[in-house]
């Protein structure tokens, strides 16, 4: 039996009056890649931001229900939000390297923890970039501006930056939406390799990507979870008519 890592119970989310997530119930198993698919505005990104409480930053944002991660109710009292965000690293759709060097981008979060030992940092940089599949391309120019990298490289840098924090979970919000096929392939390869050590939630607009890399897939529509199941099942015999329609491109 697989171990449940994240338990989501009756989760609803509101932006002011607008209810953007409606009574979501699902589980995420340890060391799986869970894909979340669905048309735009169906609450996929909001769902991710609920998991590491980045939605706290948005005025008027409100959550109902429960999310339990590693046995801890993350909306309970006395939750260390900063530690939570380190545990659940997030990669956004548009790669946003911070305006500093490649090296400094990777160690940014680590430095915030007060670690400053040069050798330790060097090692973290190499490991993280290696895991993100970027080391070979940038090892000779670690101290040049990260803004000079190509879009695909920037996105892998953002993944490396998250890995440097040694998170348990990696949340990816359409990480390849702005990238060319080759960069996309490289990122998908990295994700498969990362699965052994991390639990990954991948929000994607690209249903084929979900089919290629995920173990299970959840289909969101208008803030509702329509169905969640093993990826091959979702793609071959979905239970719900709407899932089938979406996958066949009849809407969305």
């Amino acid at each position: 039996m697989k171990e449940v890592a994240i338990q989501v119970e009756h989760l609803s989310h509101y932006y002011g009056q607008h209810r953007s997530l409606k009574d979501i119930n699902l589980q995420v198993y340890r060391n799986e890649i869970l894909g979340i698919i669905g048309p735009a505005k169906s609450g996929k990104s909001t769902f991710l931001s609920c998991l590491n409480r980045l939605n706290d930053l948005i005025p008027g944002s409100r959550v109902e229900g429960r999310i339990v991660i590693d046995g801890q109710d993350i909306y309970g009292p006395r939750v260390d939000v900063v530690a939570l965000r380190r545990k659940l690293g997030i990669v956004f759709a548009t790669p946003v390297p911070l305006p500093m060097s490649i090296y400094e981008n990777v160690v940014y979060g680590v430095r915030l923890l007060g670690k400053n030992n040069r050798r330790e940092l060097d090692q973290i940089v190499e490991e993280s970039l290696e895991k993100a599949g970027l080391w070979g391309e940038v090892k000779d120019r670690l101290h040049t501006s990260a803004l000079k990298l190509s879009g695909g490289q920037q996105q892998r840098l953002c993944i490396a930056r998250v890995l440097a924090l040694k998170p348990h979970y990696i949340l990816l919000d359409e990480p390849t939406s702005g990238l060319d096929p080759i960069s996309t392939m490289k990122i998908e390869d990295s994700l498969r390799a990362l699965k052994a050590n991390y639990t990954i939630i991948l929000v994607t607009n690209n249903t084929k990507q979900a089919a290629r890399v995920t173990d299970r897939t959840a289909f969101f529509l208008m803030g509702e979870l329509i169905e969640i199941n093993e990826t091959p099942i979702i793609f071959t015999r979905p239970r719900d008519k709407r899932t089938e329609d979406y996958l066949e491109g009849r809407f969305g």
Partner: protein, 295 residues
């Protein structure tokens, strides 16, 4: 449309372009005329007595043909840097608070109020300085009260609106995605501001400081009222001081002959100092921009 009509349009286009060019040039030519005028009036005496006499001479006795401007040069620099030491930290702190930490409503109320500071005539600042600040310094710290310190504090307050509003604009121009990215990596709000937002806004912040500095070095009336105006090199921040601008304003009314020329020479030196400070500051901000986000 006939080719005739097109020609007509092209012609009117050219006419508009030409007249706009003339207007633009007239603005620039005013600057040119001022520059030429000051240099034409001030340079001859500088060459007659030698640059060294003006730049390094410590005695300003126009009636005895002694035109040493060193006390005023040092005075201007001291007062300007004093104003920056007081105004920049205050200005940066206010700008950071208003953009990153206060609610939108509070910022919407406070920003126009701060900008209103810029609309208060400088003579009013001088008057308030003279009535409250000068006696306060005299009683608390000693000395005549009319001092480098008093001038620096008054100027530091006067440059606040410039520093604050330009810093606010440049901090607001930093994309939110930087903040989001930093917070997602587990940074606190303050860490995000210190390590990401401020470095990204640096060139704009420097521009604000340059403009503030220009305002401080050029300010005359408020300084005359609180600085004491003795033409000696101040021995401490509590000693009175005379700036280059005050030197011109105080004596121009009755100066004639070489005295008058020497005041224009003061203007030349002020002009050159401002040019140097501006260039240095511009260069450092351009360098930062290149380093930060060169593509």
């Amino acid at each position: 449309m006939s080719s005739n009509g097109t020609n007509k349009l092209e012609k009117s286009d050219r006419l508009i372009k030409l007249s706009l060019l003339m207007i633009a040039l007239s603005a620039v030519s005013v600057l040119a005329i001022i520059t030429i005028f000051i240099f034409e009036q001030g340079l001859p005496i500088m060459f007659r007595y030698g640059l060294k006499h003006f730049l390094l001479g410590q005695d300003w006795y126009p009636s005895e043909k002694s035109f040493g401007l060193l006390p005023m040069i040092i005075g201007s620099l001291m007062v300007t840097f004093g104003a920056l030491i007081i105004g920049v930290p205050l200005g940066l702190a206010s700008a950071i608070f208003l953009t990153e930490f206060s609610s939108r409503r509070l910022a919407g109320f406070l920003k126009p109020v701060i900008e209103l500071l810029a609309g208060i005539p400088s003579v009013v600042y001088g008057f308030i300085g003279l009535m409250f600040l000068v006696p306060f310094i005299r009683e608390r710290f000693g000395g005549p009260g009319l001092s480098v310190l008093a001038a620096s504090v008054i100027l530091g307050i006067m440059i606040l609106p410039t520093v604050i509003s330009i810093t606010i604009d440049s901090i607001r121009a930093v994309p939110d995605s930087y903040r989001e990215g930093s917070m997602a990596l587990g940074a606190t709000k303050w860490q995000t501001v210190r390590m990401v937002v401020l470095p990204a806004a640096r060139s704009g912040i420097i521009a604000g400081i340059i403009l503030g500095m220009g305002r401080a070095i050029g300010e005359t009336m408020a300084v005359i009222m609180v600085a004491g105006n003795a033409a000696d090199i101040p021995g401490s921040v509590l000693a009175p001081v005379r700036t280059l601008t005050s030197n011109i304003a105080l004596e121009m009314a009755y100066a004639s002959g070489e005295h008058r020329e020497a005041l224009f020479a003061t203007g030349v030196i002020l002009f050159i100092i401002i040019m140097i400070l501006n260039t240095v500051a511009n260069m450092s901000s351009a360098k930062q921009r290149k380093k930060g986000s060169g593509r």
